[in-house]
Symmetry: C2
Subunit: 90 residues, 2 copies
Amino acid sequence: METLIIYDITDDNLRNKIATILKDFGCMRIQKSAFLGDLNTNLRDKLKIKLEKILGDEFGNIQIYPLCSKCFGLRKNIGENYNVEEEMIL
Amino acid sequence: METLIIYDITDDNLRNKIATILKDFGCMRIQKSAFLGDLNTNLRDKLKIKLEKILGDEFGNIQIYPLCSKCFGLRKNIGENYNVEEEMIL
C-alpha cells in the first residue's frame, strides 16, 4: 500500500535521521519533509515503532498516511518534483 | 472527503499566501507545511486551480491527497500536534 509520511522536525540532526530511516524502508523523497513508499501493514507498523523511538521526547510531529489505490490515483501534483541532486546540498 | 495538502515552498511570501488560501478553504494546519480539510470534488478542483495560479512559474511543489474514510482512519500521528500559538511567531 502506498504510504505517505510527512514530518515537521526542527532539529537538523533528528530530521536527517528520520530521512535515513525512511530511505532504509525503501521510501522515496517527494518533498523536503515528505516521503512516499510502498509499505505493507507489517512494515508500516515497524516504521511507526522506529519513528516513535527516534522521536522520543523531542519536539516534533510525524504523520503516516496509508493510501489505497483509489486515493493514490486521485492525488494531484502541482509544480516541480523534488530534485534528488538538490538533496546533496541540503 | 478529508484532503491532505502538503507543500514545499522556499519563498516566505509565497508560502504564506498558500497557507492563507488553504485557511480560506477551511483547511486546518497540521504541520508547518501541511494542511487537512474536508473538501468535496468541486472544492478540491477549485483549490487546485487557485494553487496552480499562485505558484505559477515559481519554484516549488504542492501535492493534494484526497483520503477516503478507510485511509483516513488508518493514519498514524507521532509526537506533538502543531501548536496554533506557534504560528503567530512564524
